[in-house]
Symmetry: C2
Subunit: 106 residues, 2 copies
């Protein structure tokens, strides 16, 4: 299927307070997430390269030991296997892109 | 560099009325585009898989002969080498993700 509408897709709660839609293509996974204020992304890493784009809100993120406050227009490019963690200081809207596909999210 | 802010990046006009920021990672290119009403994306194809996410506006897109009106929350997953084209019916905000990297956009 080529065309999708996020409102027609099943919502998944990946972690407490981190809820959204996932689309998997041949080579990528795209996640469209609403993150509730206070939600925590525990430190972890994966083989997938990841790009996190903040659309709304304030999200404090640490990648490979470097911490930054992400606001609307902020983008974090997370190399493969880099440890990363975060915390939502407000409600947030985020798009995460992964390569290769997150088979563990299917 | 891990952390980026779109307002600090150079804006590129890829086609008339299609202006935005590009971030290249090891395996992906992410484009954050503002598209002016009436701007046209001529039919083309490329080896890169592409995911187009509409954040705002109305964009009529044709992929592999199938046409759909994209609205906020619409997503088009464009397979490698699939012909695609489009036209902005209103001003639009779009995020495009490509794998592999768009070397031609560097």
């Amino acid at each position: 299927m080529i065309f999708h509408n996020l409102k027609n897709l099943e919502k998944k709660e990946l972690l407490p307070g981190i809820v959204g839609n996932l689309i998997h293509t041949d080579t990528m996974t795209i996640g469209y997430f609403n993150i509730s204020k206070g939600a925590v992304l525990p430190a972890h890493s994966h083989i997938h390269e990841q790009v996190t784009s903040l659309l709304e809100g304030e999200f404090e993120m640490t990648v490979a030991g470097e911490t930054q406050l992400l606001l609307a227009g902020s983008v974090a490019t997370i190399p493969a296997n880099a440890e990363h963690s975060g915390k939502a200081l407000t409600d947030c809207k985020v798009i995460d892109v992964f390569n290769p596909v997150r088979e563990d999210y299917k």
